[in-house]
């Protein structure tokens, strides 16, 4: 698939984002003017030490939260001033989340788990099923749709979560430490899956991580410290996860 095309419109266009938390007398400036553009088809990592503002930035990029100041356009839509329900709609259509702890409905089967975003998107039952099965197929779990989440291994659960992120065909997938709870083999398999989805389907994937191994697989690495972007680097030779999956 193509590399970042300078001519394409950015899928994420954030200008001078700040976020200030006030707790009593204390004012915490979690984000102090972050500006970044992310183009469709990119595979990038946002890195930084604990407390640097990664989660704050991700929550804003993921439309779970609003910046204190600055503008944020997601896929051409200015999300500033949107109400909670409108933000929910934006999340539903434009963003896929993948979490460190999977966040699946444990006793619900894989298919129903993947269907969830489509239910809130008002997609009818038949189409939901077709699309959820296709998403499970894409993550290599087409045969396992009947299994309840808690009957699957950690790696498989994260695949279901990725299928759930994919199923609404979002503009971006935001993955917060997606391999943090996995052993190294499963972790490598998940990174391989992300790279494949990025290359074959051109899906924009943003990792939020402090794990240098994840960053090593990305084409672009944004470093953040004390609420500011301190580096924005291109990784000339990303690692290929699919070729270095350790033997069982």
């Amino acid at each position: 698939m193509t590399m970042t095309a300078a001519s394409a419109a950015p899928v994420i266009d954030a200008l001078d984002l700040t976020k200030t938390y006030t707790i009593g007398e204390n004012v915490v400036r979690a984000l102090q003017g972050a500006t970044l553009k992310i183009y469709p088809g990119d595979l990038l990592a946002i890195m930084g030490p604990s407390g640097s503002g990664k989660s704050t930035l991700m929550n804003i990029l993921g439309c779970l939260d609003q910046p204190t100041s600055g503008t944020y356009r997601l896929d051409g839509v200015d999300v500033k001033g949107l109400k909670d329900d409108q933000l929910a709609e934006v999340r539903n259509h434009k963003i896929g989340f993948v979490f460190q702890s999977f966040n699946l409905l444990r006793r619900t089967n894989a298919l129903n788990n993947v269907e969830q975003p489509l239910i809130y998107g008002g997609v009818n039952a038949r189409e939901r099923r077709t699309r959820a099965l296709a998403a499970l197929e894409a993550v290599g779990l087409g045969q396992r749709w009947r299994h309840a989440a808690n009957e699957l291994s950690g790696g498989q659960q994260q695949r279901v979560a990725i299928a759930r992120a994919l199923v609404s065909e979002p503009a971006i997938i935001l993955a917060d430490e997606p391999t943090g709870n996995l052993d190294s083999k499963s972790g490598a398999e998940i990174m391989c899956l992300f790279q494949r989805l990025n290359e074959e389907k051109g899906i924009t994937i943003i990792f939020v991580t402090h794990d240098p191994r994840i960053a090593g697989h990305c084409r672009r690495i944004i470093r953040i410290s004390d609420g500011k972007i301190v580096a924005d680097e291109v990784n000339p030779s990303p690692l290929q996860a699919c070729s270095d999956i350790p033997e069982a």
Binding site: D85, G122, A125
Partner: protein
């Protein structure tokens, strides 16, 4: 999001948490079951009592000594006073529009036969009393006018008396029994009326009223003014439309005869069987409402159970709620989802409760021998109420769930 999707989500969740769902359901089921069973039993008892009164005869008016008053509870009680044969003569010759009239003088005593005895109420009656009160003979004959005028020592026995005194297969008719040292010839036996809350109706024996007053009970039947006492007058109106009129006539005739000044309270009571049924009906309605209220409280407890489980569930599912919001659920979708879960639970609980209630009513019928009557009204009431309970007690947890901040909910451990 549409109702169908919300329902699907609710069923997905309930299926995924069967144990929790079943426990919640149980509370509601027992509540609904209790409401239905208890109200059915109450209705059954009321029907039973009404039937007992109706079996006494239709369009019946009773005249008895003493003033019956309606107490606070709607019950009736009598104050001592005496009615005599001359009162009866006044009533029977002056009151119009009656089909049949009769009079009785009764006392409790013991009947002896072949070394056995039976405690019984001996009713000295005019022959018409049998027909007025729906007594029929199973063997022999009832009393007639000749018996009355000759003060014959003849007696008709109820089934309980027959059972006490005679062996199976023996024919009581023609036998001689003893009461208070007098011998009586048994001329007939009665068909059973069964026993009721009024006692064993078959522990009864009939003799001519003249015999009872003048030969059997002697001085016991003589009143303060030297006249023979009576216990009850029976007046059967020609039809329902004349019932009230007969009642008024009887009151007027008696008040006149007994020289009761205007404004003074009557020292006798003229009551129709319908009024009697109604006064008991008031007590029984209160009973039914009382039973229903107890059951409703248990339903309420079931509702608090739902709220408790839903609240626990909101806490337990905080991350799930965060996740649902992250993937695009609006606040209302979460609210509806939790509400529908609560309502579905209480509806299923209601349906199971109908089964429990009907089974409970059937069991009570078996044990008490009074048929509990299951009516659609209380069923609809119980299920409707349980759904409201689900809605009401589900609302608060559902609101809490819908207002969770997704970021914090997702971070929740």
């Amino acid at each position: 999001m549409f109702l169908v999707e919300t329902l699907q989500l609710a069923f997905q969740t309930l299926r995924a948490n069967k144990m929790r769902a079943i426990l919640t359901l149980l509370g509601i089921s027992i509540g609904v079951g209790a409401v239905i069973a208890l109200i059915s039993i109450g209705t059954g008892v009321r029907r039973y009592v009404t039937d007992q009164f109706t079996s006494a005869g239709t369009n019946l008016i009773l005249v008895s000594p003493g003033r019956m008053q309606r107490g606070m509870s709607g019950g009736v009680f009598a104050q001592p006073a005496q009615l005599t044969m001359s009162d009866w003569q006044a009533v029977s010759s002056n009151v119009q529009d009656t089909l049949l009239t009769g009079v009785a003088f009764n006392r409790s005593t013991t009947i002896l036969y072949a070394g056995k005895q039976s405690a019984v109420t001996v009713n000295g009656v005019t022959p018409s009393v049998a027909e007025i009160n729906n007594w029929t003979v199973s063997a022999g004959r009832f009393l007639d006018e000749a018996d009355t005028s000759s003060r014959a020592r003849v007696i008709v026995l109820g089934t309980s008396v027959v059972k006490d005194l005679f062996d199976d297969g023996d024919d009581p008719v023609g036998q001689t029994v003893r009461i208070n040292g007098l011998t009586f010839r048994v001329i007939g036996t009665l068909n059973s009326k069964g026993s009721s809350f009024l006692g064993d109706q078959d522990a009864i024996a009939f003799t001519p009223i003249t015999t009872a007053q003048e030969r059997l009970f002697g001085t016991l039947s003589v009143g303060n003014n030297g006249e023979r006492l009576i216990s009850t007058m029976y007046l059967q109106a020609v039809d329902d439309a004349h019932r009230a009129g007969v009642q008024t006539q009887a009151i007027n005739v008696l008040a006149d005869k007994r020289k009761i000044a205007p404004g003074e309270a009557n020292d006798f009571t003229v009551i129709s069987q319908t009024e009697l049924v109604n006064s008991f009906g008031v007590i029984l309605s209160a009973l039914t409402i009382f039973l229903g209220a107890i059951a409703a409280i248990s339903l309420l407890v079931g509702g608090v159970g739902i709220m408790n489980i839903m609240l626990v569930s909101v806490t337990e599912r905080t991350r799930e709620i965060g996740l649902r919001k992250a993937i695009g659920a609006k606040s209302n979708a979460i609210l509806n989802q939790f509400l529908v879960e609560a309502v579905v639970l209480s509806l299923i609980g209601g349906v199971v409760g109908i089964g429990i209630g009907i089974a409970g009513a059937a069991l009570a019928t078996q044990l008490a021998g009074i048929a509990a009557i299951v009516e659609p009204g209380p069923i609809a009431l119980a299920v409707g109420f349980s759904t409201l309970v689900g809605l009401f007690f589900g609302l608060w947890p559902a609101r809490r769930a819908s207002r969770l901040n997704p970021i914090e909910a997702l971070r929740f451990e």
